[in-house]
């Protein structure tokens, strides 16, 4: 794919904005001499915000399923033009995660793993300083924990999506020892996010650790009471409106504890929740309901 074909709309709007040479020069100088294409990319960021907000409010999963891929490709094309645009990278990471989780993981786990891998690459590219991103994969874990201390609150989005996508990729590659060995790294990154901003992305760090400790037997490193604490905190922060908290608790912790009643009751309640429970995150809640239905269909097999 060429840059032009990817960026047609943006380039067109950029060109329109810079019809006069002095104006164009002023813009280029103000941006430190970066290319026209980068100007277009950066100029389109506010529009993208609107698109993301609209997608978060989407209640029609089919519409979302068909709309997201084109947007992902557009964002990816923009990252080719403006690879150091951290905000754009984070948007791309978020988009790939959401699409893989909502529409791909259940039916095509191998493809989902590849999408999570792309998600992680975008998130890693947003980490500052860049040397920290390099160390995430190579430094021994105890050194990595030290290195992560240099990350401040501004690094939270990049670290959060790095750890989230990494953990998903590991989860879908459990048959590979090398990937399993990375779990400690992903967890170390999310630990830092938890320290810096526990409420980020609707208490995402707590949901992560709820699953992390709840999805394994205590013999294999699980810890049910810690899992419960994290889920409880996650439920507290977005005031119980994000249905995925209950879905994850049922899918991982209740299933691991073989608590069929809790599994059934939680998922049934999720399905029965009102559609207008949390309009700002209506899409996530619709995804949660769809996942709850899919999980309930396997109840007999698992318990």
């Amino acid at each position: 794919m060429t840059q032009n074909s990817t960026l047609d709309p943006g380039i067109r709007s950029g060109s329109a904005a810079c019809k006069s040479l002095p104006a164009l020069l002023a813009v280029l100088l103000s941006l430190g001499g970066c290319s026209m294409a980068k100007v277009a990319v950066r100029g389109s960021m506010p529009m993208m915000e609107g698109g993301i907000e609209s997608m978060n409010r989407e209640t029609d999963l089919e519409l979302a399923r068909s709309a997201i891929p084109a947007n992902l490709k557009m964002m990816e094309g923009m990252t080719v033009v403006d690879p150091d645009n951290g905000e754009l990278r984070i948007r791309a990471a978020h988009g790939f995660y959401g699409y893989a989780f909502a529409f791909v993981e259940a039916e095509e786990p191998e493809r989902a793993a590849r999408l999570y891998q792309r998600c992680r690459e975008h998130a890693l590219a947003a980490i500052r300083p860049a040397s920290l991103a390099d160390r995430l994969e190579t430094a021994p874990v105890d050194e990595l924990q030290g290195a992560l201390q240099q990350a401040d609150r501004s690094s939270v989005p990049a670290l959060f999506w790095t750890a989230s996508c990494w953990a998903k990729w590991i989860d879908l590659n459990r048959d590979d020892v090398q990937s399993i060995s990375h779990l400690a790294r992903a967890a170390a990154v999310m630990e830092r996010v938890l320290e810096l901003d526990e409420g980020f992305y609707h208490a995402g760090p707590h949901i992560f650790f709820g699953v992390y400790y709840g999805a394994r037997s205590p013999t294999l490193g699980g810890n049910f009471s810690r899992s419960l604490q994290h889920f409880a905190r996650a439920r507290e922060l977005p005031q119980g409106k994000l249905l995925l908290v209950d879905v994850f608790e049922a899918e991982y912790l209740d299933r691991q504890r073989l608590d069929r009643q809790a599994f059934h009751e939680k998922l049934t309640a999720v399905i029965a929740a009102p559609d207008d429970l949390f309009p700002a995150m209506a899409f996530a809640n619709e995804v949660g309901k769809a996942r709850a239905r899919a999980l309930l269909a396997r109840e007999e097999e698992w318990f």
């Binding site: 021994p140 459990r174 048959d175 090398q178 037997s217 294999l220 504890r257």
Partner: protein
């Protein structure tokens, strides 16, 4: 009207017949099988392949229902549930075997075997008596697997066995074999549940653990240690069992099917475990773990004396029968004298 009534009756009869056929078409035997092996791993895939093969070849007469990832609890819980008939089968490590038929743990005796070839040959010789031992205890042995070579992982380098005395070593609570060996070596280990190991390594309560390379990666214990002994201390065993209460009810053709497929599944698991443990050692080295203590660094006479002292404790308590230990030593002597461990003797 009469035709319509006939049609309705025929339709009703068809529905009734179809319903009763469906009821009869379900499996005659369901084998609920629990394991600590997590879903999605290569080992669980192998177990699921086993289940599919049995279902297909028995034409749905015998089906597995798997409970992976320890959802039915730890090995002692699974044993309890098998005794109560809530579960019919399970995969166990030496820890669980110690609760059912401890003599089979002769294959886990520390520093007794030098390589896989020795282990494979001795195990093949003992298999008939092990099968009988499990049977007498109320279990049918369907397959033999293993968790692999167990090494020490430590925060400080172990240059000799004597160095063990200076470490704060974890002992898996209730592991009689480990306890006897540590006592014989003059080491005072710290008994802890496996669930407390990671935290205790973090807090410094312990600084040395014993585990397979693969499990060290999976449990993330490697993140808290810096060294691994190159010489393994033992080879961790694994078994695939069903309760006799279930097995004895099966018709002969299903018993034969479970034995044949269980044996093959065990062999596949052994091959994969050996491969993944080797891969794990590479990964651990990439992660900065340094290998220390080779077999040559250990005085063989000292090791034999140590092994003898541990055996004396274990045989005195009846955990490992003395004649079995003596026979194993003699057998290993033969294998080593022949210099062709793993290959059949000419007279075989």
């Amino acid at each position: 009207m009469r035709t319509l009534t006939r049609r309705l009756l025929a339709g009703l009869l068809f529905v009734l017949c179809a319903t009763s056929l469906t009821a009869v078409a379900g499996p005659r035997y369901t084998l609920k099988f629990a394991t600590l092996v997590p879903q999605g791993t290569v080992w669980m895939n192998v177990l699921e392949d086993w289940g599919r093969e049995v279902a297909e070849r028995s034409k749905g007469e015998l089906v597995f229902k798997f409970y992976p990832g320890g959802v039915q609890g730890d090995e002692p819980d699974v044993i309890k549930k098998m005794r109560f008939g809530q579960l019919q089968g399970g995969a166990f490590t030496g820890y669980g075997v110690g609760l059912i038929y401890p003599p089979a743990r002769i294959l886990e005796m520390p520093f007794l075997f030098k390589d896989h070839a020795e282990i494979d040959e001795v195990r093949a010789r003992y298999m008939p008596e092990f099968e009988q031992g499990f049977r007498d205890g109320g279990y049918e042995l369907l397959g033999w697997s293993e968790i692999g070579f167990i090494h020490f992982f430590s925060k400080h380098p172990l240059r000799s066995l004597d160095d063990l005395k200076q470490q704060r070593i974890w002992l898996w609570q209730g592991d009689q074999l480990g306890e006897a060996w540590f006592q014989a070596a003059g080491v005072s280990p710290i008994p802890l549940s496996i669930t407390d190991v990671y935290t205790s390594l973090s807090t410094g309560l312990i600084d040395t653990v014993y585990c397979t390379p693969l499990a060290t990666v999976a449990l993330q214990w490697f993140t808290k240690t810096a060294y691994m002994t190159n010489v393994p201390m033992a080879n961790g065993i694994g078994v695939l069992l069903v309760s006799r209460r279930f097995f004895d009810r099966l018709p002969p053709h299903l018993k034969a099917l479970l034995h044949e497929t269980g044996r093959a599944t065990g062999e596949r698991l052994i091959a994969m475990t050996r491969e993944d443990n080797l891969k794990s050692i590479d990964i651990l080295q990439q992660e900065g773990i340094k290998l220390v203590l080779n077999r040559e660094d250990i005085d063989q006479t000292e090791l034999e004396q140590l092994s003898e002292r541990a055996a004396a404790r274990l045989t005195a308590s009846g955990y490992i029968p003395r004649p079995l230990f003596d026979r194993t030593r003699a057998l290993l002597g033969e294998i080593r004298a022949r210099g062709t461990s793993g290959k059949p003797r000419p007279q075989d």
